[in-house]
């Protein structure tokens, strides 16, 4: 099946930038707010991986689904997760998308297709299959993206999920964000093989791309999404990137090679893409500045909204355990 031109249009490029600029700004703000002590939460920074979901999501609509992980605010924001609902949730407020009960590791927003956020390594994949099975049964043409990390490619759920998706030809795109680290352990210490090369073990296409190159990710995602929509089955994309920060906020990341990290941060994929947009004349400096200013304003509003919102009542402990409130 032909997926047509694999280069993003100018509009799509700007769209991608909008998403990654939001991810970058939101991450910087999150760390600032946590550092200031105004918020206490386990925070898994997605910085460095900003490009991947941005380039994937321009190939998706609000009707498409994603399942992501604790390190997933970038995936969610790229998919359109409302800022205010997100901030209120991570602040544990009743106005949060999960009424403050889920928190950062379980952010959920069905209207935008953010169906599951899991704190268990590998568990985004088996559930993504089920959502995609639903689409296959309904014939609604929707696609489900399962995001996961490089280290998750070593856990049983990855194997069972890719095999079932391939055998059932499910409309899923498995997107592995290879940031070279699983907590404090380097990927190469835990596997002899590239994640993308494991696709062959299931008879599905597997592609390794530069996750910091919006064009490369866009093309791979476009192919995979088209394949899924056409009913031709799942694909595996391994997007190579690098984790700018420690595993979790507070992690001193002494185990990460300083030079490698400095180099990655010096080549910030968001700033590189920004410069490229200006060079290629797709956007003017002030246009981008305006976008960034609007993002900052939106985040200001979201943070204020979140911190001004009330905390849930303890009665919430009895609600949402089952459909019926507990006595």
């Amino acid at each position: 099946m032909s997926v047509g031109n694999l280069d993003p249009t100018a509009a799509e490029q700007l769209d991608m930038y909008r998403r990654m600029a939001l991810i970058k700004a939101n991450d910087e703000r999150s760390r600032k707010v946590i550092m200031s002590g105004r918020l206490v939460m386990p925070y898994y920074s997605p910085r460095g991986q900003d490009v991947i979901p941005s380039a994937v999501s321009v190939n998706l609509t609000d009707d498409d689904y994603i399942c992501t992980i604790y390190r997933g605010t970038h995936d969610m924001l790229a998919k359109g997760f409302p800022l205010k609902d997100m901030w209120a949730e991570v602040a544990g407020r009743t106005t949060g998308t999960c009424k403050g009960k889920g928190g950062p590791m379980h952010l959920t927003c069905p209207e935008k297709g953010v169906m599951v956020t899991t704190g268990i390594v590998g568990s985004s994949m088996p559930i993504a299959n089920g959502i995609a099975w639903g689409s296959q049964l309904k014939g609604d043409g929707r696609v489900t993206v399962a995001y996961f990390g490089d280290a998750a490619a070593n856990i049983g759920a990855f194997h069972e999920s890719l095999n079932l998706a391939a055998v059932w030809k499910l409309p899923v795109v498995f997107v592995c964000q290879n940031n070279e680290w699983g907590e404090h352990t380097a990927y190469e210490k835990t596997s002899n093989v590239r994640v993308a090369d494991r696709a062959a073990a299931y008879g599905m296409p597997g592609e390794r791309v530069d996750g910091n190159d919006p064009f490369a990710v866009y093309a791979a995602a476009r192919r995979a999404v088209a394949r899924a929509r056409a009913g031709d089955g799942p694909s595996l994309i391994e997007a190579m990137t690098y984790r700018f920060h420690g595993h979790v906020f507070g992690d001193q990341d002494a185990y990460m090679d300083k030079a490698r990290k400095a180099d990655a941060m010096a080549n910030d994929p968001v700033l590189r893409f920004r410069a490229r947009l200006v060079e290629s004349g797709i956007a003017g400096e002030d246009e981008l500045a305006a976008i960034e200013a609007a993002i900052e304003a939106a985040i200001d509003e979201a943070v204020d909204y979140a911190l001004a919102s009330p905390f849930p009542d303890v009665a919430e402990l009895k609600r949402d355990v089952f459909a019926e409130e507990l006595a």
Partner: protein
């Protein structure tokens, strides 16, 4: 699974239902009727479709032929993927009935069941919910040894967000399966292998047994015996023998373990003043502990004897026949324990 030879073609049951059916057929009929009534009901698991004989015991036989192999899917041996697929489909409007062949195999899918199916409603603040049924069979009696017979219901009852049922008759099996499929939350449906072929009064189509309601099988005034699943078959004869011995025993089939019917159990024990809980699971930290603790809390000072717990021996299920037989409570044990309670 050394029992395939016992299998009888079930299913079409839904169409023309005989006066008597066995539990296996009743479960099959309940799934068939639910699938006929609601297109969103799905079935998945190992060997569940008809090319694979509708399950090793034939519980799902006929369903894929009748409703299509898109709604009834045999899976690879991948329990995490099975439960994950059920959860995901349920998030977008389906009502999957997933089979984990034997209860011991839930151990390879506990993350999906406990961290996800049970918790997504709460963690999403009610934005999503997981209306799935997880069917699984277990039980001693077929010499299957240490990894094929465990009763692990206490684990799931200890998990907020899960419901757990364990029917002992064709009527209850049918009625509870219909209720489980319609339930908005995940339900673990525990089937007892040795009693699959127990035939009894056929349920009328559409019959329901509400989850959380126990069933008083025999009324009595001296002692209350609380049991479920196959233990009902061991307890019933004990009741008769107790009657001969002049002891009037009340038999309660719990049917639902989570939530369990506190009202019914408390009312009965308030009346008899003596209680015994019987289950096949090992006694320590079992379901009997929760019921005994509750009875003592609620009926403090009103009990005529300490609540008795009768469970499986505290060991893995042994293979050797005399050991396997001794492992689970038997009629004589129940009889003797009841006598001891009454004469205490």
């Amino acid at each position: 699974m050394a029992v395939s030879e016992k299998t009888k073609p079930a299913a079409e049951g839904a169409a023309a239902r005989p006066a008597k059916v066995n539990i296996l057929q009743a479960i099959n009929a309940a799934m068939a009727d639910a699938m006929a009534a609601d297109d969103s009901v799905l079935v998945l698991g190992e060997d569940v479709a008809d090319p694979e004989e509708g399950g090793v015991c034939g519980v799902t036989r006929g369903l894929s032929s009748r409703f299509g192999d898109h709604r009834v899917r045999s899976t690879p041996i991948s329990e995490q993927a099975i439960i994950g697929a059920a959860i995901g489909a349920s998030l977008v409007g389906f009502r999957p009935v997933a089979e984990i062949m034997l209860m011991n195999f839930t151990t390879v899918a506990m993350d999906m069941i406990v961290n996800h199916a049970a918790k997504l409603r709460f963690m999403s603040g009610g934005q999503t919910h997981v209306p799935i049924v997880i069917r699984t069979m277990t039980g001693t009696g077929f010499a299957s040894g240490g990894q094929h017979c465990d009763y692990l219901e206490a684990w799931f009852a200890h998990t907020a967000g899960l419901k757990v049922v364990a029917p002992s008759s064709p009527r209850d099996a049918y009625g509870l399966m219909r209720s489980a499929i319609e339930d908005p939350d995940p339900v673990l449906f525990i089937e007892n292998l040795p009693t699959y072929w127990l035939a009894d009064e056929a349920p009328e189509s559409g019959y329901r047994v509400p989850i959380g309601k126990a069933n008083v099988l025999a009324e009595g005034s001296d002692v209350t015996i609380i049991a479920y699943a196959r233990m009902i078959q061991e307890a019933a004869p004990a009741i008769a023998r107790l009657a001969e011995a002049g002891i009037s025993a009340e038999l309660i089939d719990l049917r639902s373990i989570a939530p369990w019917d506190r009202a019914a159990v408390l009312a009965s024990v308030a009346k008899t003043g003596r209680a015994m809980i019987v289950h096949e699971a090992v006694t320590p930290f079992g379901v009997g502990a929760e019921i005994a603790a509750t009875l003592n809390e609620e009926l403090f000072g009103r009990l005529k004897a300490p609540v008795k717990r009768l469970g499986g021996a505290f060991c893995p299920v042994p293979f050797s026949k005399p050991l396997e037989t001794a492992f689970a409570p038997q009629t004589e044990d129940i009889f003797a324990a009841a006598c001891a309670l009454v004469s205490a």
